[in-house]
């Protein structure tokens, strides 16, 4: 049975003035898979996510979601987690959950509470009192608690301690399901590679590698990180 194409990017180019951030990016994503969007800082990972999330408009090319052109309606299918801490300092963690619950019809409040149960984030703590690891975990829980088809997590492991990284990866694995696509951008390849189905190497806005993680390991007798180092050594 052919899987439905939920997210298909064709010849996507994004220019800012005279700088090219993405060039002819074509990617077809399959349901049920976790993708790693890998590349050093400035390679275009965030730009790509923002275009798919509808926050930036592409210069040319197309993004199809469930066979429809990207539009304001697409937001209902996409949960985007920005890399920075977007939460108000004076809010308590529980207020953020309530806010999302009001904002998004698809927000699974009990699911979020359930995920947070196993995590050391006190719901009554103000955001300003949380460590960067706790913020990272809370942001991930919130993004994954929306019940949508596509999740875009921008640098979820950045600036987060080692133990919190493990927790964040566990959260992602728990949220994986047959009809969802999860895309994670990161440059921390060795940490994350064991949870990825497929990887995209983005080098100066161009897709250098797009393939199944296990097949890449088998073909090249290297870890994804090893291949990453070869591809970006001279970048």
């Amino acid at each position: 049975m052919n899987k439905l194409s939920v997210l298909k990017i064709t010849d996507l180019t994004k220019r800012y003035y005279n700088k090219t951030a993405l060039e002819n990016v074509s990617l077809d994503f399959e349901q049920g898979k976790i993708y790693g969007l890998l590349g050093p800082n400035g390679s275009g990972k965030t730009t790509l996510m923002k275009v798919v999330a509808g926050l930036h408009k592409q210069t040319s090319g197309s993004v199809l979601i469930n066979d429809e052109m990207l539009s304001y309606k697409s937001k209902a299918y996409i949960s985007y987690m920005p890399t920075e801490n977007y939460m108000y300092d004076n809010f308590k963690a529980i207020d953020i959950l309530k806010f999302y619950n009001t904002m998004y019809e698809d927000f699974r409040y009990d699911y979020a509470l359930n995920l947070l149960n196993d995590i050391d984030v006190n719901l009554d703590s103000k955001i300003s009192k949380l460590s960067s690891g706790q913020i990272g975990k809370l942001k991930t829980v919130i993004a994954l608690s929306r019940n949508v088809q596509i999740y875009l997590l921008d640098e979820p492991l950045n600036g987060v301690d080692v133990l919190s990284r493990d927790t964040i990866m566990d959260l992602i694995i728990k949220s994986q399901s047959e009809n969802k696509i999860i895309i994670i951008s990161t440059h921390l390849v060795s940490e994350i590679e064991k949870i990825l189905d497929a990887v995209i190497f983005l080098k100066e806005g161009i897709v250098e590698v797009f393939g199944d993680a296990e097949e890449l390991r088998q073909e090249r007798q290297l870890s994804v990180e090893g291949i990453y180092k070869e591809v970006f050594r001279n970048a």
């Binding site: 049920g32 976790i34 994986q176 060795s190 189905d197 296990e214 390991r217 007798q221 870890s223």
Partner: protein, 123 residues
Amino acid sequence: MEFNNNIPIYMQVIERIKQDIVSGKLKPGEKMPSSREYSNELGINFNTVARVYKELENEKIVFTKRGLGTFITESDQIIEKLRYTMAKNQITAFIDGMKQLGYTKEDMIKFIETENNYLEGNE
């Protein structure tokens, strides 16, 4: 379980399951965790676990009962064959390695006897 990222992860999980079957840690007919449970336990993607079960099923080392889950084979013959194959892989690698070090068959046997006696003496 710690993974070596240079080797496909599904192969490493398969190796471990096979070892656990041969050593008796996993019993014939024992129910395996669901893909979801196992992926949470190992901290890996559930498609990887699904692939592990599929490959093991092709080798008749596990079988699935529809709606009930995945189970370790009950066939002594298959388990015996698995033990033999795994032992053979070990001995082949050993012989190759020793030959590269210039050992003859007699030297190898002598070495195994002395070393084994020493190890048993230490137990």
